[in-house]
């Protein structure tokens, strides 16, 4: 059942076995998997519920409905990095690009060897990954669905012998509408709101939306209940969810805030720290031929030749509204570039960074501190040079950089201007789509928040299951890994049911 908590006339008390907070990649998957195994599950979601019929391709309207704070969330630091995330049933999966990449072996190996996470083996994780991939129909899209902006760069990369390919996606019904990040209007992308959530609801799970989990109550050291609040026109209502297991899946920004506000893990020095975000940027380029980047899969191809250096290139299609802002031009020049929008291609890259940030809060509001380190600035310089080179090799007439102080590049001879400009972090226009790591897994309660079963150290029955659990940045888009861990957690709870229920 999907229930709008705003319709409650009075406060409510519910008994359940499991209360999940947040309905994104972590929460929706663990909730559905547990409901499927016959457990009674209540899911609380702060945002509203929107279905495929509500997704109308208008990016301004969709951003307002589906994104937290109308998408205007940013880090504090230099540069300020835009860090949008979802606030709706389905969480950020509703507005993501649908890319599904498996956790790289090198990352898993590092977690085992450097972090001592010996339980996390390939054999342990891969059955769960396979289950998610099957449920979401993860596969490569056909070439004809890839937007031209993807193919221009992919074909050039292949010609130059760079390791590259087509990204696998959870969008088996994709029609190439080109607006994944504003809610898929055809339902072809299997975000949580069209996959795990309806399936969980069919299995008896109850989803209360417009309800923000606020308080966690314990009794004799054990989980007792979660209190959610609902703002209605007639004031605040509460919903009291009595449960023996609570799974916090509010995302890497809000899970640590929820725990801290409830004085959980006070001895942990890792709570809200260790934030990595995969800072990212994009370049645009003008071509003689029409690109029409609004057609086809926005993020359809990748170049992983430089991933060992922490740089992963991925396709991106930016709507005209965002492009106009990212061009950093003024006057006739900007008008004329925008008049040629159908000839503009964009492509981006993310950095698997060394920088770490932290999350604090003032009341309900999150403050994300993140100051880009020199080593990562160098990665941005290198990534920008490589991508500009690729665009020119693909026949671009001009390349527009994400660096406001620098001019437009007219040919590959201009690329040297990037390095000679002695750029600093604040000179770049950056975005971040993958906050992670703020309730990290570990064996030491002082330097981590959850154990290898995702249970908060020393609080039986309290789990964290979302992007916040990763001990380091993944270097690839995280949703598949989050869902893998969520499936694994459901399995763990099922196998240890007698201990918890």
């Amino acid at each position: 059942m999907l229930i709008d908590a705003k319709t409650f006339e009075k406060n409510k008390t519910i008994e359940t076995e499991i209360c999940v907070i947040g309905s994104g990649a972590g929460g929706a998957v663990v909730a559905k998997e547990l409901a499927e195994r016959g457990r009674s599950v209540v899911l609380l979601e702060e945002g509203g519920y929107f279905s495929t019929a509500d997704f109308n391709r208008n990016s301004t309207e969709m951003v307002r409905k589906l994104y937290r704070d109308c998408g205007m969330t940013a880090t504090l630091g230099k540069p300020m990095i835009s860090i949008p995330h979802g606030k709706c049933v389905g969480g950020t999966t509703v507005i993501n690009s649908g890319t599904c990449i498996r956790l790289p072996d090198r990352v898993l190996e590092k977690w085992r060897s450097q972090e001592g996470l010996s339980d996390l083996t390939e054999e342990d994780l891969s059955p769960h990954t396979e289950k998610v991939e099957k449920t979401l129909g993860v596969s490569e899209p056909p070439r004809e669905l890839l937007g031209k902006h993807n193919l221009i760069v992919l074909d050039t990369a292949k010609r130059l012998g760079l390791s590259s390919g087509i990204l696998r996606r959870n969008a088996p019904g994709c029609k190439g509408s080109g607006v994944c990040c504003f809610g898929c209007p055809t339902g072809g992308k299997y975000s949580m709101v069209v996959s795990y959530i309806p399936e969980g609801v069919r299995m008896g799970m109850k989803v209360y939306y417009h309800c923000r989990a606020k308080k966690l109550r314990m009794r004799q050291g054990k989980i007792d209940r979660v209190i959610g609040v609902i703002s209605t026109a007639n004031g605040e209502r509460t919903i009291d969810v009595r449960a023996s297991v609570v799974i916090v899946s509010a995302g890497a920004i809000f899970s640590p805030i929820f725990l801290r506000r409830n004085r959980v893990a006070p001895e942990s020095r890792a709570l809200g720290k260790n934030l990595s975000i995969h800072p990212a940027t994009r370049l645009m380029a003008l071509f003689d031929e029409k690109v029409e980047s609004w057609r086809g899969v926005p993020q359809g191809t990748y170049i992983d030749e430089f991933s060992n250096e922490g740089i992963l290139f991925e396709g991106t299609a930016v709507p005209p509204s965002l492009s106009s802002v990212s061009l950093h031009r003024v006057g006739n020049e900007l008008t004329n570039i925008m008049a040629q929008f159908s000839h503009i291609a964009s492509y981006g890259f993310l950095v698997s960074e060394d920088t770490r940030g932290s999350i604090r809060h003032v009341g309900e509001k999150a403050i994300v501190f993140y100051q880009l380190e020199k080593k990562d600035v160098d990665r941005f310089i290198k990534g920008t040079e490589i991508l500009a080179e690729l665009f020119f090799a693909a026949g671009a007439k001009k390349v527009y950089l994400p660096i406001p102080p620098l001019p437009v590049l007219d040919n590959s001879g201009d690329i040297g201007k990037i390095r000679s400009a002695k750029l600093r972090g604040k000179d770049f226009e950056l975005f971040a789509f993958h906050p992670m790591g703020t309730c990290r897994i570990g064996n030491d309660p002082h330097h981590s928040v959850v154990n290898q079963n995702l249970e908060v150290h020393d609080v039986e029955g309290l789990f964290v299951c979302d992007a916040s659990i990763f001990p380091s940045s993944l270097g690839v888009n995280p949703q598949l890994t989050i869902m893998t861990f969520a499936t694994r957690l459901a399995n763990y709870l099922h196998q240890n049911a007698s201990r918890y229920f």
Binding site: T60, R64, S321, H328, L334, A339
Partner: protein, 130 residues
Amino acid sequence: MSVRLNSREKKLIEIIADALTPPTPSFRLNASDIALGEEVNAVYSLHPWAIRWFFRACLWILEYLSVFRYGRRFSRLSQEEREQLLERWLKSRLYWKQTVVKFATYVILMTKYENDRVRAAIGIPDRRGL
């Protein structure tokens, strides 16, 4: 703080928009043709309080700080001076100047290029046809 922008602010938005992307032979629509001030107002009123406050502050900083350089408010400058000022601030090494101009122009440009008439004028098919 009032949820709605006043008429001076709406006018100022259209002036800034036309300084950022003035009509040219390849694109003839100006900001008042699409009632951009009203449209920004509609979008703006739905934003959280802090964002509304910051946007408004950025508008007024832009309007009045030009006095130090040109002796006149932004809305009284020539088109050329307005473009110069926006460009200088956008590329300024002073971070706060960049932030002010980026934020004000972000809201204005985002709204402008989401407008159906503007999208049609730059060759993007109707959303329903996509």
